[in-house]
């Protein structure tokens, strides 16, 4: 299972390094979303206050695109079917694709955070770095797991472009809430202190635990004919 997962993650990342879809298309999309948020909110003070939430919202929108892309690779020339035909362990496929997705998301999030510092005047400070990195890690893994799970279900069915957001967005609500609050605490947005952030990581932890186990079990039945 882990050998297959490593194999598939390496393959997905190599494809991304060749095609540069994330860096050339998804990243600019996320950036324009961040700029548009500022247009919608107008005043600097409001933008500064809600900056962490905007970063995570932009991440969620990008997640939808990344998941579509991750499974478009597989369905383009029948690789999903070929994997099933080759008896590749579905749990391995699930973990592998989630791992590759997590790596791409992590890069995206870091760049969005830097953008928040530039555009929204967010301030990083030393005391919050540990919390920030942990939050980033937990939220990224959680989003990647749940994105892969529902992406696999939606892949190859009619109307997948519309079905995926409908299934995925309600499910990631706890991540949006937890990651935003923890990020606020780490950045000290509106006077939040770092210790406020740690309880939220518990929430993210439960989410990751739930979907790593649930997803590993459920992915096979979801993609099987």
């Amino acid at each position: 299972m882990f050998r297959i997962a490593r194999l598939i993650a390496a393959k997905d990342l190599r494809i991304e390094l060749r095609s540069r879809v994330v860096t050339n298309q998804v990243l600019p999309f996320a950036m324009i979303v961040m700029v548009m948020f500022a247009f919608a909110l107008k005043t600097d003070e409001v933008v500064e206050k809600v900056a962490p939430g905007l970063v995570w919202l932009a991440t969620l929108f990008s997640l939808l695109i990344l998941v579509q892309r991750a499974f478009a690779i597989e369905t383009a020339d029948g690789a999903t079917e070929a994997m099933r035909a080759a008896g590749v362990d579905p749990a391995g496929i699930f973990l592998g694709k989630a791992l590759a997705l997590a790596a791409q998301l992590a890069v995206l999030e870091i760049l969005l955070l830097i953008l928040a510092v530039v555009l929204y005047n967010s301030k990083l400070h030393a005391g919050g770095v540990v919390l920030l990195v942990t939050t980033l890690l937990a939220a990224t893994i959680g989003l990647a797991l749940v994105g892969t799970l529902y992406g696999g279900l939606a892949a190859g069915v009619r109307g997948r472009e519309t079905l995926l957001p409908l299934l995925l967005l309600p499910v990631v609500a706890p991540v949006l809430i937890g990651a935003t609050r923890a990020t606020e605490a780490a950045l000290g947005t509106s006077g939040a202190v770092v210790s406020d952030g740690w309880p939220w990581l518990g929430l993210l932890g439960v989410f990751v635990a739930l979907f790593s186990v649930g997803g590993t079990l459920a992915f096979g039945p979801l993609i099987e004919e």
């Binding site: 393959k11 494809i15 383009a76 029948g78 690789a79 070929a82 035909a85 008896g87």
Partner: protein, 227 residues
């Protein structure tokens, strides 16, 4: 002889349409069976059923000793299917693709190399991205992926499509070698001249059923010559 595939009155459904409507067929080890018939007759579905990809709606089926009704997932590890799609990643090179598919069953580097040599991909084409290949070259790559998997039962759906004369010769030689090494092969093809010469048996598929099967005119001595 050992029975590799046994199907009796198999019905398989795609959506609400019965692609297989009571097909019965038996294949012995070492045979090269050619499935022929018009478009939509059920050839592809028959291959997908053997590969354990489709559920069996009615009837009985057994592949390599596994019951298709209860245990079709177990069949897959020992069967190699080349479908209409090639299952290749267009951003990766030929070598990377063959290596990836070989690795899914734990093939060694030398086996991957041998498979590529067999299909004439080891020289000029090995570091070319699949997106830049012609249709025939993609088909060769897909065949190399299949060879690297060392399956016991080979299921080929129109393998000759898009291949040039040299590619066809390599394919035919590969298939004879595989049967000599103990593999069994089921081919669906429209190219009767080509595939008919290779096959030990012809099977006609019509209306989701197997109409009749007959020994190929000179099939017997061919398989013996290869063996």
């Amino acid at each position: 002889m050992e029975t590799v595939v046994h199907l009796s009155n198999a019905v398989a459904v795609l959506g609400q349409f019965p692609v297989l409507a009571g097909a019965s067929l038996t294949v012995e080890r070492g045979e090269i069976v050619l499935l022929q018939g018009p478009n939509g007759a059920g050839k592809t579905s028959l291959l997908r059923l053997f590969a354990g990809l489709m559920p069996l709606a009615r009837g009985e089926g057994n592949v390599l000793g596994f019951d298709l009704r209860t245990n079709r997932e177990a069949v897959r590890k020992r069967v190699g299917l080349l479908g209409h799609a090639n299952g290749l990643y267009s951003d990766l090179t030929v070598t990377e693709n063959v290596r990836f598919w070989g690795a899914t069953i734990g093939a060694s580097e030398s086996e991957v190399g041998a498979a590529m040599t067999r299909m004439g991909l080891a020289q000029r084409l090995k570091d070319v991205q699949v997106a830049k290949l012609s249709a025939g070259q993609k088909r060769r790559t897909a065949l190399a992926c299949l060879i690297a998997r060392r399956a016991e039962l080979w299921l080929l759906d129109e393998p000759h499509a898009g291949l040039d004369a040299a590619g066809r010769d390599e394919l035919d030689a590969t298939l004879r070698e595989a049967t000599a090494a103990g593999a069994t092969i089921v081919v669906a093809s429209h190219e009767l001249e080509r595939a008919g010469a290779l096959a030990t048996r012809l099977v006609e598929v019509v209306g989701g059923q197997v109409r009749e099967s007959q020994v190929a005119p000179d099939g017997d001595n061919r398989s013996q010559a290869a063996g």
